[in-house]
């Protein structure tokens, strides 16, 4: 579990992170969404006890990041923006080295390394020098390094940067699996697709501050309004409008379609469908309009960075 309270980091005259408060439960993924320089990496470094917060506090896996840095570091797996591999080592040597640093026995290192290399498709390349690895392979190995000591907490900074789509898919699946195994995960990214795929909670960060945070469903609902549904008909709809149940509003119409916002789809959609099916037009489709995280993110940035806007977090 990760808890941060008013976490702040100042470098001389530059405020890198300001008053960040959040918490992540085991099995959950919190995604930090934000552009480069937003303060994501500094936050990860504070949570891994590499940087000391200027003020505020944070607990990772039950330990205070300031007073128990070694205990924190022993329980955190960190994937940094740069993969940080030694070009003249083989994957086997590299994982042995980090396993030793984390105090694992040779047998544990061997078993963990073999399983992870297999899972990420690198088993065949374990004896190759890392200088010969492709960028995607390096990033995968860096993730394996972060997992080799079986940490309960994962801090992942841009884990799929520079990966080909196939490798990115493997890594995203692995992250989902790690969350499924009960690990607490913070994922920093500016890849909105990745965030949408993996996040349980989302925090939008800009200029060192959390502009907005909530769980993913609420995030979309809050920023883009209630769910939208679209009905498509066999013939032009003209000016016909069905009787709308409470909590349903007609927001847009086209030649052969209508779009509604629905506050509570479970309650209202059956009533709405019944109205439309009993109407004069033949309905051929009724589907939810996908709400895009990109739109929500842009809305969050616009809404909370206006000069008069209060900071939502």
């Amino acid at each position: 579990m990760i808890v941060a309270e008013q976490l702040t980091k100042r470098f001389e005259n530059f405020l890198a992170v300001a008053d960040m408060s959040f918490s992540v439960q085991p099995g959950q993924v919190l995604v930090f969404l934000g552009p480069n320089g937003a303060g994501k990496t500094t936050t990860v470094r504070m949570l891994s006890s590499v940087l000391r917060p200027t003020s505020g506090s944070a607990w990772v896996a039950g330990y205070d990041v300031v007073t128990h840095p070694r205990e924190v570091r022993a329980r955190v797996g960190v994937l940094t923006e740069q993969h940080g591999l030694y070009a003249r080592m083989t994957a086997k040597e590299y994982l042995n080295f980090f396993g030793e640093l984390y105090g694992l026995t040779p047998a544990e290192i061997c078993a963990r390394s073999a399983a992870l290399l297999e899972q990420f498709g690198l088993a065949g390349a374990r004896g190759r020098r890392l200088g010969t690895y492709s960028r995607g392979m390096r990033q995968k190995l860096a993730l394996i390094r972060a997992l080799v000591h079986d940490p309960p907490v994962l801090l992942l900074d841009e884990p799929t940067t520079a990966m080909d789509p196939e490798s990115a898919l493997v890594v995203r699946d692995a992250i989902r699996k790690q969350a499924g195994e009960g690990r607490t995960i913070i994922l920093c990214t500016h890849n909105l697709y990745e965030a949408e795929l993996l996040a349980h909670h989302i925090a939008v960060i800009r200029q060192g501050r959390i502009l907005y945070q909530s769980d993913k469903a609420e995030f979309l609902h809050d920023l883009l309004g209630p769910s939208q549904f679209q009905a498509r008909f066999a013939h032009p709809v003209g000016d016909w409008t069905p009787t709308l149940p409470p909590g349903v509003r007609l927001v847009e119409r086209g030649a052969e379609w209508m779009r509604f916002t629905v506050d509570d789809p479970v309650l209202s959609n059956p009533l709405l469908l019944r109205q439309m099916l009993s109407g004069p037009l033949e309905m051929v489709a009724f589907e939810e309009v996908t709400q895009n995280l990109e739109s929500a993110y842009i809305e969050a940035v616009n809404r909370f960075t206006r000069p008069e806007a209060p900071h939502a977090a």
């Binding site: 470098f11 001389e12 470094r45 891994s48 590499v50 940087l51 000391r52 070694r70 205990e71 570091r73 022993a74 955190v76 960190v78 940094t80 740069q82 993969h83 940080g84 591999l85 030694y86 003249r88 080592m89 040597e93 080295f97 980090f98 030793e100 640093l101 984390y102 105090g103 860096a142 390094r145």
Partner: protein, 473 residues
């Protein structure tokens, strides 16, 4: 520290494996360890033969150990690059962060890197010297005495560790490999001077002096390692983002500590200077003991060395005193300023010496002065003049102020060096330097400079007249 070693050695092993796989490291070290010594054997053979043919066998004998030292020194200087890039190189290549994220302590990380960086120069230097000595035996060149060989081996090892320690400190403070390499001159130049000094000692054949040199280098090495360990903080490696001296920031830190919480000059004098003075207790005691020891050494030197010419000079001192009293009329400020500036300059030289030696060499000016004072006093007493009269006539009138002032300034330098070495308060190296400098400036401006001015006035206007009264001029 010993229980930190196993984890530190994990880092060391990785670094060594990496070094062994890089031909750019292996080739020069092997060349300097196995080929260069043979070339040096040839050189030694030629020089020794030539010197003997001119009948200067004593110089020829010194040439062999001198070249032994040079053979040992080259692998160290070549391997310096490894230490210089140990931290900053990893930072530049982006491999440092996974290490910083590991549960290793700062000290373990530092120690692991230090041992790894010291291995190549120590092994290379010792191998080179051994090959050189074997070559000497093979060519029939007479070997130096066993004691000198041992001294040169030890000096080479300690110097290697010292250079590597200094280079690692540079590596932790530098922001890029380029800036670390540019800073290497601050290690190479003092080392070149040191090796030059040691060469002179080898040519003199003074083995005792060489032991002292070894002791000095060993002390500095221990302090350098201590400084590195005390000031290394992983956060600093990621934080540092300045490639130039931030003079404004340095001045801010200096001024903040110099001024303290004072609201006026009087308040500063009353509270801040007094506070600094209270913190100088132990260093003042140490410097006082050193001062007493220096006087005793001076007296002993006089007893073991004959200085008849000096004693004859003293016999004609009375006429000179009369001249001095005439040349320095009462209330003429010129001699006062000269004496005062001379003493202030001596304290500034002490600061400069202390700055490069963690305060240790800062004690030299006061020690040398008091050794001389002890020597002169003993010489005077040897001419039959009572010690008490000499002290009252020549030393005490101004010395009673001047010596404590010098002791205080030296104590501030010593304390600054100790603070730098111990890394107290978790401050950065630059910040600690500025704080030590501010402490020294407080003591100098608040006490030493005014006291030296008073002492100079007494020395110019009072002492010659008291001396004339005592010695009946």
């Amino acid at each position: 520290m010993l229980h930190d070693l196993p984890s530190a050695l994990v880092i060391t092993r990785r670094e060594l494996r990496d070094q062994m796989r890089d031909w750019r490291i292996i080739f020069p070290v092997l060349f300097l360890a196995f080929v260069f010594p043979f070339i040096m054997n040839f050189t030694a053979d030629q020089i020794v033969g030539m010197l003997r043919s001119y009948g200067v066998g004593i110089l020829a004998d010194s040439m062999v150990p001198f070249l032994l030292m040079i053979v040992g020194f080259f692998p160290i200087s070549v391997s310096l690059a490894l230490a210089l890039e140990s931290f900053v190189g990893e930072k530049e290549r982006g491999t440092i962060e996974p290490l910083l994220n590991s549960p290793l302590k700062d000290g373990q990380l530092y120690l692991g890197k230090l041992i790894a960086a010291a291995c190549a120069p120590v092994v290379g230097g010792c191998l080179g010297m051994t090959v050189y000595l074997l070559g000497c035996v093979w060519r029939g060149i007479p070997l130096p005495a066993g004691e000198m060989i041992a001294q040169i081996y030890l000096l080479t090892v300690v110097q290697a560790v010292m250079m590597v320690s200094a280079a690692i400190v540079v590596s932790t403070q530098a922001t890029s490999v380029r800036s670390a390499n540019l800073l290497a001159s601050f290690i190479v130049i003092p080392m070149a001077l040191l090796v030059q000094g040691e060469s002179m000692v080898i040519f003199w054949g003074k083995s005792t002096t060489l032991w002292w040199a070894l002791f000095g280098v060993l002390t500095l090495t221990v302090l350098l390692v201590r400084v590195g360990l005390a000031h290394f903080r992983r956060e600093e490696l990621l934080n540092r983002d300045l490639d130039s001296l931030n003079l404004r920031e340095l001045w801010r830190v200096f001024y903040q500590y110099f001024r303290g919480g004072a609201t006026s000059a009087w308040d500063w004098y009353l509270h801040e200077v007094a506070r600094t003075l209270r913190g100088l207790g132990i260093p003042t005691l140490l410097v006082t003991l050193l001062a007493v020891a220096a006087v005793i050494i001076g007296v002993r030197l006089m007893q073991t060395m004959d200085a008849p010419q000096f004693q004859q000079t003293l016999m004609s001192e009375n006429s000179k005193l009369q001249d001095l009293a005439n040349q320095w009329p009462l209330f003429d400020y010129h001699p006062v300023v000269s004496i005062w500036w001379q003493n202030v300059r001596a304290m500034l030289i002490a600061l400069a010496l202390g700055a490069v030696s963690f305060g240790i060499l800062g004690t030299l000016p006061i020690i040398l002065t008091l050794v001389l004072a002890g020597y002169v006093s003993a010489s005077v007493v040897a001419t039959g003049i009572p010690a008490g009269s000499y002290l009252i006539g020549f030393i005490l009138p101004h010395g009673i102020i001047e010596i404590p002032a010098a002791i205080l300034a030296t104590a501030a330098i010593l304390k600054g060096g100790a603070a730098l070495a111990s890394g107290s308060g978790g401050r950065s190296l630059g910040e600690q330097c500025m704080i030590s400098l501010a402490d020294f400036a407080r003591v100098m401006l608040g006490l030493v400079v005014p006291l030296l001015l008073i002492a100079a006035a007494i020395e110019a206007w009072v002492t010659p007249r008291v001396a004339l009264m005592v010695f009946g001029g």
